[in-house]
């Protein structure tokens, strides 16, 4: 009986390990589908400078390829979604179309850690943020995730990675380290880089690329 349980558990653990290794192997490799039309895209917005950088990135991408778009920002951040809205309005105006109600959505999420919050209380707030993130991710199930630094992206990206393992949804995660990071990665960046959760990892300063060789140096976005 006991032996049976031990064997059963080891088989499950081994299978899980193989699955995780397989996902890690496949992550970071280009998507093989050569005729994609568009990908549902989750855009994780930070505050202030983060949002400005993300908007520059969105302006460089073809909106038809990244559609529908889901914008997500911290519940305490009133400015970022407003900026995303005015970006979407100006894009629609330029294209001379009215954006369909379900083509763009805006969502808010609890933050795992506010600027200046202690690391100890952030354990609890991180748990709350994680549950909320899971609920949002089950609703959206994005194929592409664009993020550039705010802590809110960590639970979302971790869940996206979990979805890959479980087979709920395959997504490509693109992370652009903020321009403010010249010599050291942010905590979010470090986590996504070290755990290989980000499929592609971009840095804006050559100094960082020398320390983190798997990153792409792309120059300044601002």
């Amino acid at each position: 009986m006991a032996l049976g349980i031990i064997i059963g558990v080891s088989v499950i653990v081994s299978l899980l390990l193989i699955r995780v290794l397989h996902i890690l192997y496949r992550s970071g490799k280009p998507i093989s589908d050569k005729s994609p039309k568009s990908y549902s895209t989750l855009v994780v917005l930070g505050s202030g400078g983060h949002t400005a950088e993300m908007i520059n990135l969105l302006l460089a991408l073809d909106q038809n390829r990244f559609s529908p778009r889901y914008y997500i920002a911290a519940a305490t951040d009133n400015m970022s979604l407003q900026k995303a809205r005015s970006l979407e309005n100006s894009l629609a105006e330029k294209a001379g179309i009215k954006v369909a109600a379900d083509a763009v959505q805006y969502m808010q999420i609890y933050r795992s850690r506010e600027v200046g919050q202690s690391y100890i209380t952030s354990v609890w707030t991180t748990l709350v943020a994680l549950v909320h993130a899971l609920w949002l991710m089950l609703r959206v199930r994005p194929q592409v995730i664009l993020c550039n630094g705010p802590g809110t992206c960590i639970p979302l990206c971790a869940i996206a990675f979990l979805f890959k393992i479980v087979g709920i949804r395959w997504s490509s995660i693109f992370y652009v380290e903020s321009i403010a990071r010249v010599r050291r990665l942010s905590l979010s960046g470090l986590i996504l880089y070290k755990l290989r959760i980000a499929d592609r990892f971009f840095v804006q300063w050559p100094q960082l690329q020398r320390i983190y060789p798997r990153a792409d140096y792309v120059g300044c976005l601002m």
Partner: protein, 182 residues
């Protein structure tokens, strides 16, 4: 580097505004420094006529001064939706180290001194200011060295910043996802 808009104040002096901005939070250490009399004397000595302070959520209230001939006109406010207008009409910008504020000022080609807030827990912001100062796009200071930075600065030596763009990132993302090159 571009100077502020043409114009004269009520005493016929050419109007030269120093705009101090702390962004969305507070930076009392900076507001306190620019409120000091000796600091204002340094600004006057450099030919500035107005000091406008955006103090955010700070609790230190600087002294307003309507001015008289030969003195510095001082005014402040907490927040404004038209920070861009204030930046545009400034001859010198003294800013906190937030990247949004830094690049907005650099894009307007305004002389900029970035003051790093040493009270922040995770102070990575100094990295960006120091890197851009090394590349001579701006001056980087601390609250206690701002005084000296202004006395010693030579705005002619600052180099204009050429904004970057996101096309290299977009290219890699498109290729990764299997989209054809445009």
């Amino acid at each position: 580097m571009r100077e502020g808009e043409e114009g004269a104040d009520q005493w016929g002096r050419p109007k030269k505004v120093v705009f101090v901005t702390v962004g969305t939070t507070s930076f009392d250490a900076l507001v306190r420094v620019v409120d000091q009399q000796e600091f204002k004397q340094v600004l006057l000595g450099k030919g500035y006529t107005h000091l406008l302070i955006q103090m955010g959520r700070g609790t230190y209230i600087p002294a307003k001064w309507e001015g008289e001939a030969g003195s510095l006109v001082v005014d402040y406010f907490t927040f404004s939706s038209s920070i861009a207008d204030h930046l545009r009409s400034a001859s010198l910008v003294i800013s906190h180290a937030g990247s949004g504020s830094i690049f907005e000022t650099l894009k307007l080609r305004k002389p900029l001194i970035v003051v790093v807030n040493e009270d922040l827990m995770d102070n990575h912001q100094a990295e960006l200011a120091e890197e851009l100062a090394e590349r001579k796009h701006l001056y980087c200071a601390r609250p206690q060295t701002l005084h000296k930075t202004i006395s010693d600065m030579n705005l002619e030596s600052l180099l204009p910043y050429h904004p970057g763009d996101a096309t290299p990132v977009a290219k890699i993302i498109n290729r990764f996802l299997g989209f054809p090159e445009d």
